[in-house]
């Protein structure tokens, strides 16, 4: 059991009387690249936000290395520092430069000295190809660049898992590629990732695990080659037919 990094058990989430997630169960292991696909409103993003404790779950538990993080015994901030998140709308800190964005968490949360945090920030900014822009502020760079900085910011915390909440949905088509390239290189480096995405090519070619969600339940999960070529569920088949035809 303890070799799973994340284990989600019977997770349910309701906004008022509206159930968004119903009895979700799945696990994430070291080095897994899991893509969560599904129609809008199927609960994909909510699931990711629940995992990062940005939403409180109604019932169920989230085990991180076998320890339940929803029960308040564990330090939420420490958990969040180990589970990075990249948002659809980047959420870079507008009052800081690119470099400061990547240093602030290290300094204040992980208590890393300034010089070390700077080196680490530069290392990861280099990795996403944004190192020359360290003095720019978020409103001075493009959407694709912002998202790459956001990835570097999350990586600077050296998390064990990285959650991506539709990282390319807010981007112009020509910028999607640069962000996907960064994600692909992370996958190659065996980073554990959980990606909510509408990019079917990423789900099919890069991830080694695909979860299809519909109406708040996991309709089908498994190997991408199986799901994309021979889906078992009728709804999965219809969804893929619809989305791959475009």
């Amino acid at each position: 059991m303890s070799d799973h990094i994340l284990e989600i058990r019977h997770l349910s989430k309701a906004f008022g009387s509206h159930a968004v997630l119903k009895d979700i169960d799945f696990t994430v292991d070291q080095g897994d690249v899991t893509s969560i696909i599904g129609a809008s409103g199927s609960g994909k993003s909510t699931l990711l936000r629940c995992i990062n404790l940005l939403e409180t779950l109604t019932t169920g538990e989230i085990l991180f290395h076998g320890q339940d993080v929803t029960k308040g015994k564990i330090n939420q901030s420490a958990y969040r520092a180990k589970v990075g998140m990249v948002f659809q709308s980047f959420n870079l800190f507008n009052n800081m430069t690119v470099l400061e964005n990547c240093m602030i968490g290290q300094q204040k949360v992980l208590k890393i000295p300034k010089e070390d945090s700077r080196n680490k920030a530069l290392y990861y900014l280099n990795k996403v190809g944004m190192a020359p822009y360290i003095n720019a502020r978020p409103d001075q760079i493009s959407g694709g660049q912002k998202q790459r900085v956001a990835i570097a910011r999350a990586l600077s915390m050296e998390p064990e898992v990285l959650l991506f909440d539709e990282p390319t949905s807010a981007l112009d088509p020509e910028m999607v590629g640069e962000v996907l390239d960064v994600m692909k290189s992370l996958a190659k480096d065996k980073m554990t990732m959980l990606v909510v995405t509408h990019e079917m090519s990423f789900a099919r070619d890069v991830s080694n695990h695909v979860v299809y969600m519909a109406d708040g339940v996991i309709e089908e999960a498994g190997d991408p080659s199986v799901i994309f070529t021979n889906p078992q569920s009728l709804r999965t088949r219809e969804f893929l037919k619809r989305i791959l035809a475009v």
């Binding site: 990062n52 940005l54 409180t56 901030s77 420490a78 958990y79 969040r80 520092a81 990075g84 998140m85 948002f87 709308s89 980047f90 959420n91 870079l92 800190f93 507008n94 009052n95 430069t97 602030i104 968490g105 204040k108 949360v109 992980l110 080196n119 530069l122 290392y123 280099n126 190809g129 190192a131 020359p132 822009y133 360290i134 003095n135 720019a136 502020r137 001075q140 956001a150 910011r153 999350a154 915390m157």
Partner: protein
């Protein structure tokens, strides 16, 4: 007529110039110090009012926050809803009833009254400023593990301060003018000098004329400086790419070999543009 006015002003200035300047200094000190303290009060109130309080927090914290909110609400409504001139009188003559000792120091009382007043207005400005920050900023900070105070201190408040700078400036200019009501408790600000001088020499209009010009100069100067400050806080409008740092790779940035030149380079023999 103008000649008469000018000569009257001249004689007033000769006799009471330093008194007027002293009044201006007092006004500026009171307005500046009180605005700063008022901002601090406003920020504290704004922060306390925006502490998140979900239904699953523990009951003691929720009750405490509720009480704090009610107290701040009452403070804001009382000091926003009564004239400052009356508050000055109320506090100056009221405190001896409760504390036995007379509040002798006019400076202290004046600073308290104006600060507390500014604070009441600023509390609402700060609350609005915090609420206007994109929720994504809070989430971004939470997602890298910052707690509420760190999020506020390093991410939200710097942006709030920048956003409400115009309101702070507004309050400062209002304070420069409205500290004039402190003459009621004997504070010798710029306007009090007018009362004193014109009462002594009966030159009401020339003195008022000087005061008008004086106040206008002060506020114009203040708004000019505040604009400068605002611009400075907005940060540099441009940035430079860094490629001298050893850790920074210059992937993707390609320097054209300078000696070879290009067809678009005037120095090159391949230059195809117009030759002069």
């Amino acid at each position: 007529m103008f000649a008469q006015l000018l000569s009257d002003i001249g004689s007033l200035w000769q006799k009471y110039g330093t008194v007027y300047l002293n009044g201006i200094a007092n006004t500026l000190i009171l307005a500046t110090v009180s605005t700063l303290i008022g901002c601090i009060i406003g920020f504290l109130c704004g922060i306390l009012q925006t502490i998140p309080c979900g239904p699953n927090e523990n009951i003691a914290k929720r009750i405490l926050l509720k009480i704090v909110r009610i107290l701040i609400r009452a403070y804001v409504e009382i000091f926003r809803g009564t004239p400052m001139i009356l508050q000055a009188v109320f506090i100056f003559y009221g405190l001896p009833y409760f504390f036995g000792v007379s509040f002798k120091d006019i400076w202290t009382v004046s600073i308290i009254v104006v600060s507390v007043n500014t604070g009441a207005y600023m509390a609402e400005s700060v609350r609005g400023g915090i609420m206007s920050i994109d929720p994504g900023q809070f989430e971004g900070a939470k997602a890298i593990g910052m707690n509420h105070w760190q999020t506020m201190l390093y991410v939200i408040l710097p942006q709030t301060l920048r956003n409400i700078m115009p309101q702070i400036g507004n309050n400062y200019i209002i304070n420069v003018k409205d500290t004039s009501v402190m003459f009621i408790i004997g504070f010798s600000d710029f306007f009090a000098v007018h009362k004193m001088v014109s009462g002594a020499v009966f030159k009401y209009f020339p003195s008022a004329f000087m005061e008008m010009i004086g106040y206008l100069c002060l506020t114009l100067l203040a708004s000019f400086l505040l604009r400068k400050l605002e611009k400075k806080m907005a940060g540099k409008p441009d940035y430079e790419l860094v490629n001298t740092d050893q850790l920074v790779m210059t992937a993707g940035t390609y320097n054209f070999p300078s000696d070879a030149g290009s067809p678009f380079d005037e120095m090159s023999k391949d230059y195809k543009g117009e030759k002069k």
